[in-house]
Amino acid sequence: MIIISKGIVKATAFIKEYKSSRIEREIISKMDLGKEVYEYNSVDQLYFELKMRKAIVHSAIKLNKSHLAFKTFNESKCNETYWKHTEEGGFILKKRIMASEAIRDISLNSYKYGTECSTAMIIIYYQALLDVFTEELFNELFPKIHLMNWHYIDDILEEAGFLIKRKDYLPGDRRYFANPDVKPTKPEWQGENVIDLGKGMYFGHGIGIGDSDEIIYALNKYRVEGARRIAYLVDSAAVLDFKKLANIAN
């Protein structure tokens, strides 16, 4: 159910505006028919969330097409023109470098970068924000960036690190496939962080785009011999605080 300024709104009021956009139409339909109540102070807040979710999905698809390598933290790499590579395997924005340029460089020179799936999620979020916010605002919000899963996540994005069981799952959510019987020497495959792309499809760095069966099939290859448990999609998601971001954008 969608509620705007305390009044229930039907999806039909919005669907027409997104005739050619599959992602927004799917999000609106799911919100309308879902078990959760989606409450907004204004229609602009809803529009912002739709825009952000679409940007997240597009960033994920774009990352999939890039040459960003899948690397464990021990082997991670980055373009040291923009980023300082830490001993932990993360990347810190260098001083006097604009965050927008550094984040954009991950797309432009993707072959110079390699990291694992959780950091890839954070990269996707930053790239999506860069698409939605003005460059000036983006640089003002993020004078410092430390890319290393959720360990050093900026407060503005902290919800991205926290998985919670939800009543509905929407495109743009971060989901997680767990792999409980993973080989002990392959901890990087203990699971896969993914972005929900809608229509039952997911993107996970290191695996690519696929439906849940395909992601599970890929993870199952890294199980111990004689494994009894298969990988599975965890019933929870991490969702950015879109209302907070909408307020910032305005």
Binding site: F73, E88, W150, T185, G191, V224
Partner: protein, 237 residues
Amino acid sequence: MSHFLEVVTIIYYDSSIKSEWGDYMYKGYEDYSEIAAILSARGYKDKKILPIIVDLIFLKNRRGLFNHDLIWIFFEAIEPYSLMLVANYLGSKDPEDVKLANKLLEFVPCINMSRGNDYQIPYMAFVYWLHENYPFLYFTGESFQRTSKPMPYRVILDAKYLCKKVSLYTGEVLIPLTEQDKLLANNFNNLDEDNKLLLSKFSARIHKENLFIWNSWINRPIAKQISIAKGRIGGDS
């Protein structure tokens, strides 16, 4: 002792290698010992390696090195009492150790970094929590790869309320429930979270004190159970 434990023990405790390790962080030894520790703990279920793994976790943290895989393997050993090894670091003189210990035990309700300089308070609170909840713990498998606030162990509250031990691996009660147990559990599960915490805590407590009183209490109407529990331990769950 497994071969891998021997290897890690030699590397860890040999003073010349350790000195080199401490001073230069020689990558070869570090990677090999980490792999050996992983195989020992998870591959061969050798829990004697856990103290070394915990020390390695905190050592790497102090050095600003990646330790999430070691943290993962530590929790994957599925040994709740090993959490005491982490709790010991709550009293470390190094603030980075204390910070990490708090982070790793953050899923325990009583751990609170704002307890000031007296580490005994959170430490003893943790000891009591572990002792009270050990029979009802379920290993969730959550890790820092999955979420920023992993809860590697969860207390199965309805089992705690019924005082029925659960499997660490599945969260299911070890002894099948009677029809009466199922009815009690059903009523319990319809409560809000605060009352579930209250009743489960109270139930576990009086079950230890006096089985006869516990049996009398748990078979009263649920509203009466709540008022008795509130009278005895209040809302401090």
